[in-house]
Amino acid sequence: MTKEENTIVCRCSDVTLKELRDLIKEGYTDYNEIKRITRIGMGPCQGKTCTQIVLRELSNATGKPVSEIRNQNNRPPVVGVKLKLIAEEADKDE
């Protein structure tokens, strides 16, 4: 296996650097397109690990600075919360 195939970019969904680079080569140069096909950024870490790596790869491939590449939207919750805890708290509010 090559180094690219051995390097995990997204630990939540087991996406390798090779998969990421192949997609970019295929023409998927929007972070959100890559997210939708590979699930990068959709796991429990919410992209905290993979986002910077993906943005850097996109920047290298497109020549655009990272600051000009659109990231994914941040969505709640910031960390995982059990559904039953949310339900219990919601009941107290009533």
Binding site: S13, D30, N32, E33, R36, I37, R39, M42, G43, P44, Q46, N73, R75, P76, P77, G80, V81, K82, L83, K84, I86, A87, E89, A90, D91, D93
Partner: protein
């Protein structure tokens, strides 16, 4: 960028990509798809991923059945190098009132008459299908094993790649600003990247369909409304079908990745184009799901998101021409189920444009129906 196109499709969601594929497959050259963002950036990429034949109107049943039959073979038909991940685990619909069961019985009768293999189930049978279902307060259910869910991103990607291979051009990150008409005919589409001369436009703009209609002076009787979904951490497979209830207002499936996806509607949502997240949704969703599917309470929510339903007065889509402008076609108003009808949307739109014999006669889904009245309301929407 100034160019010519035989057809300009506005919207690169499932409807637009499917229409582009169908047209190109039939030999139409110079089809251009325009989207202000990227492929499946709108409602398609935010949907609940479910596809079901269990509908309450004949039109919806027929469109859904044909579409699901396509999805069963989508990888092969579209020659897709990835996988659309179709899992046909069925839909278990549960009722909480006797009146709702009466509706289920009516629906199942209609569905069976159209060769849809749905059936009424008792609470015991429902529990056999989904052992962790809390049947307290429920009155019964309906089940169709042919229903299921598939990956909306990859499904749209499959259409996109197949269409591209057939010569369709996709202009993503390109926003339609204006549509120019002359003598009631389409002349050109003006985008922020240049002009496209064409005499045919398909409005497949999902939540933004009304804005596109406004550009040609067509009064579209639809509104858009945010619907929200949340997803949990992944666990081992434990639930095959989508579980859904209209009266309890939820749907919930376990995806092939092991995560649970669940959503609900909210009548009090403002009618606009926002796709932000709300705490009210999270609260209400958590309360409902811990009651109906109690073990899921142990799962952590990892993300919530939102997308737009584009809703018509009868909750059925609008297909076809408009009388105000020649060459303007509608594939809008899916009322939350555009993804399920995606394959047939492409087929019927391409047949209309090419004036072919229709696979399914959808003439009753034209925009004129709202002026005439006599609407047949779809009763089965979350």
């Amino acid at each position: 960028m100034n160019k010519k196109a035989s057809v300009v499709i506005i919207g690169a969601g499932i409807s637009g990509c499917s229409a582009a594929y169908s047209l190109a497959k039939k030999g139409v050259k110079d089809v251009v798809v325009v989207d202000k963002s990227y492929v499946s950036s709108g409602a398609t990429g935010r949907c609940g991923a479910g596809v079901r034949m269990q509908w309450g109107t004949e039109m919806n049943c027929k469109l859904a059945k044909k579409s699901i039959e396509f999805y069963e073979n989508a990888n092969e038909i579209l020659g897709y190098d990835r996988d659309v991940e179709f899992k046909q685990g069925g839909y278990l619909l549960v009722a909480s009132t006797d009146k709702e069961m009466e509706q289920f019985e009516k629906n199942v009768k209609l569905q069976n008459s159209l060769d849809i293999p749905s059936k009424i189930v008792t609470l015991d049978e429902a529990k056999d299908i989904v052992p962790h279902l809390n049947t307290e307060g429920l009155t019964g259910g309906a089940f169709c094993p042919k229903d299921g869910f598939l990956n909306p991103f990859k499904t749209t990607d499959a259409y996109y790649k197949a269409a591209k291979k057939l010569g369709v051009e996709f202009l993503t990150h390109t926003e339609v600003l204006e549509i120019k008409t002359k003598d009631n005919k389409i002349e050109k589409v003006i985008t922020d990247k240049g002009e496209i001369y064409t005499d045919k436009v398909v409005n497949a703009a999902g939540g933004h369909s009304k804005n596109i209609c406004d550009m040609v002076g067509v009064d579209l009787p639809v509104y858009s409304e945010r619907h929200q979904i949340l997803v949990t951490e992944p666990i081992e497979p434990m639930q095959d079908p989508m579980v859904m209830s209209f009266s309890l207002n939820f749907y919930c499936q376990q995806t092939p990745e092991g995560t649970f996806i669940m959503g609900r509607g909210d009548d009090t949502e403002p009618r606009d184009l926002r796709v932000t997240s709300s705490w009210k949704f999270m609260d209400e969703m958590a309360k409902t799901i811990t009651n109906v599917l109690p073990p899921l309470g142990e799962l952590r929510v990892i993300r919530q998101w939102a997308g737009l339903y584009n809703i018509t007065p009868d909750k059925q889509p609008i297909y076809g021409k408009v009388k105000e402008v020649d060459g303007f076609y509608l594939a809008v108003g899916f009322s939350g189920h555009g993804f399920m009808f995606g394959p047939l949307t492409g087929v019927v739109i391409s047949e209309m444009i090419l004036e072919e014999e229709p696979t399914i006669d959808v003439s009753m889904l034209g925009i004129e129906r709202f002026k005439k009245g006599n609407l047949i309301l779809e009763p089965s929407v979350v």
